[in-house]
Symmetry: C4
Subunit: 282 residues, 4 copies
Amino acid sequence: MPVPVSERRTEVARAPWRDALEVIIFGVDTRAGRMFDLVLLVMILASVTVVLLESVPSLRREHAMLLRSAEWGFTALFTVEYVLRLVSARRPVRYALSFLGLIDLLAVIPAYVSLLVAGTQSLAVIRALRLLRVFRVLKLTHYVGEARVLLRALRASRPKITVFLVTVITIVVIIGALMYLVEGDASGFTSIPVSMYWAIVTLTTVGYGDIAPRTVLGRMLASVLMILGYGIIAVPTGIVSAELVRAGAGSVLHRVCPGCHADTHDGDARYCKGCGTALPDA
Amino acid sequence: MPVPVSERRTEVARAPWRDALEVIIFGVDTRAGRMFDLVLLVMILASVTVVLLESVPSLRREHAMLLRSAEWGFTALFTVEYVLRLVSARRPVRYALSFLGLIDLLAVIPAYVSLLVAGTQSLAVIRALRLLRVFRVLKLTHYVGEARVLLRALRASRPKITVFLVTVITIVVIIGALMYLVEGDASGFTSIPVSMYWAIVTLTTVGYGDIAPRTVLGRMLASVLMILGYGIIAVPTGIVSAELVRAGAGSVLHRVCPGCHADTHDGDARYCKGCGTALPDA
Amino acid sequence: MPVPVSERRTEVARAPWRDALEVIIFGVDTRAGRMFDLVLLVMILASVTVVLLESVPSLRREHAMLLRSAEWGFTALFTVEYVLRLVSARRPVRYALSFLGLIDLLAVIPAYVSLLVAGTQSLAVIRALRLLRVFRVLKLTHYVGEARVLLRALRASRPKITVFLVTVITIVVIIGALMYLVEGDASGFTSIPVSMYWAIVTLTTVGYGDIAPRTVLGRMLASVLMILGYGIIAVPTGIVSAELVRAGAGSVLHRVCPGCHADTHDGDARYCKGCGTALPDA
Amino acid sequence: MPVPVSERRTEVARAPWRDALEVIIFGVDTRAGRMFDLVLLVMILASVTVVLLESVPSLRREHAMLLRSAEWGFTALFTVEYVLRLVSARRPVRYALSFLGLIDLLAVIPAYVSLLVAGTQSLAVIRALRLLRVFRVLKLTHYVGEARVLLRALRASRPKITVFLVTVITIVVIIGALMYLVEGDASGFTSIPVSMYWAIVTLTTVGYGDIAPRTVLGRMLASVLMILGYGIIAVPTGIVSAELVRAGAGSVLHRVCPGCHADTHDGDARYCKGCGTALPDA
């Protein structure tokens, strides 16, 4: 992430080419910076595509050389990019330990590891995480704001979600054990963990059908679980909906209290709920 | 779409039969216009049904002549209709390039193309898109208004949906690659793209079961993905719900009480709920 | 349905036993009436269970006589009950043509028809519809009120749901035809109607897996459809949620306007939105 | 559950070691009490894991002795713990009959029963219910509050959910019987109960695919059921969402402004948003 302007001013002078490089690599406001991000995004997409294609047996056989070269080409480019980022960053260590910095590193490591350990080049798809950079290319702040509303809604629901998850896991263990006792090996319920896997597949309404009850009692139990899952699926949806209604209601308002600078006031509020100061009109 | 009355007045005179034709073909207010739309709708339905039936092997064998004739009959009728629309429209080019005009053209092209390229007559189902004309036959404005609320809710959620889709795609790529490494060919995970297809099938809770994990580790990963999908499915639902609550609330917001300036009245309110003053009409 | 008290007064005198019978059969306020409804409900449940059990091959073989007798016993009882209802009802024709009256008739017809047409006795499950009488036994008005809120929410959403259904059907036809062209017979897409069936199975996230795409292009199309279905499933949920929030907000309030007896006022309303009369305090 | 302090004062003196034991076993405020709960939770998790692992055939063969010993070890520990709880509790009978007390007893019974009845040791997973104790270890009151909001939302929706369930069951019976008549044995619809099982699997969008319609009419019926299920799944979600929006709103409703008597203040509001008067504490 780019160092804020105020910090840059106070630091000692650096070689001008490093400043220029920084603007290009880390900047999002200049034309060069945006162009760099865009090219980078296309290359990430291309490199992920190469990893995907290489995993297809027929393509791997026929275009082995081409795909291998392309992958090593992208690895080389990303390695150079990573080094340039380290060189041009005002605070290299901070960048290296940041979320995006760690992903940038993870994007090149699997290729080198695959030289030592065979069969691990597929791990290179980890560079798909770099696609999250797309938010930098798009109108950054807008999308970050939306992501924050989503995250705030999720975080506000955390206690409810914890209660929900513990309940789900308990149901899965109990029903899993019951189905193991009722169905047995013939229908594929070969152990309690396998039964629990089936219970999760059923409760989430995925329903592969590789394991399915065949006895009358088993099917009755499964029916209860499904109707239950039907109702249970309503709970997280309801939680997130309710939080989004609330979070969204807060986010539309843009009114800042002149007294305490709080900014989440209801639409019909005339006074700040935090300090009692009169609010400006909406 | 019909040219508004005001525009018609200012244009030069045309042959009276073209005006009459325009009223019938493009009009929705006269009895003749409504009747034309209704007959057209029935014919579209019938022609789509013919295409569907023709794709059934047994019917194709037994009623080959009948179905072929019917399809060419409908193609001829729709071609004539298209020409008449071009002739009677005040602004033929504008009509030809409009959404409905392009669909009208697309509805007849596949039949003619199938003369040149064998096996493409099934593309004639594209005329199913003409079914969207149903909204013209029904109480037009009412339904258009509802569609607009739906669209407004979707458009307002676009940034949240983009954040959501990028996250989903990233999860699908990463989980797909992991499952490919963990499960391998034996369970059907023959390449990363296939694994990604499985991840989408699982995350959306469709769960065909043609590809399903068999190893312990794979099933644990799949369970995590399903619980995740369980939570993730809550996000778009929550987004749309929240937006609809707001969009619906917004659609009745336009009336301000002359007495107390309150502006949140129900759609069916005739008096202000805050001070009892009569409200202006919606 | 019982004739309201006011109407009864104005009618001519009837034999007292018919009045007594009416109170027992149609009444819900007396102890005898409630008891009759309860016994009836148990018998309906029992008779449905008998039909279900009779369809199980092993049970049908072993307990043929028992099950047949039980079914004819229930049919006889329900026939007697139907006749008694006709006899004791103040307005027999109105009862016979009411929703519950028609169901009462439908509950006994299949058994008699099965004497003429073999293999139709399973249709006797139609008497399961009589289970809806449970709402009469439970605290009637309360549940009817809840059902009305649900129905009002659904009816208010009808235009949105129509727009939604037409869109879904159009998607199903178009995608069905495309998959038929792309996949062909090998994967089970033997005709466009079959492909449409698959599209519905996929879009609703049911996903049996009896028909599933195998080609690369088919799987890509299916993935798009699934992600689409993911988003689309959010729309009806959002619609119903938004309507329930609105309908529910109205229903908690129990305040009746002294002027026009309207009873759906917002919580913060001080004057009736229908006639402007001041409302009583909540 | 621990006896409140006020009650303890008024009771007769007990041996000091029982008081100390009570603080450790039932307390959540002291360091010893929290540590005890934490250790207990880890042991419950471990014992459930042992039961799960013992059900896996390969592990059962290879580590029979180890797993058996571990299970009996945990059973012994939980038995001792149960006895200590009885001894140290101020009101042993009340504890023994409380929800948590009954679960504590159920957690040890299956192991002893398995001495008498072979093959029942899997029932020991019932001790998974003890995992619900996790809420005691976590910030108790906070989570209990969240669970209460969830429960309140569910309870408030009970009439709507009853209406919904009765409707669903009626649909399942009717559609199940129709599919049995339409499809017959060939597709797996061997009896009405089996068809009903299929209807539940389909309506909840689980869709195993072990039973699936093959006839044209059957598939049309199934399509209607799926579209219906699509709409029906929206109802419980909408109900819970609406209730959560309200429950969430309701949980902050308890404070009335001394200035203007407004009563809809946010949970974090310190001043009335309508008139700026300081609010009483929540």
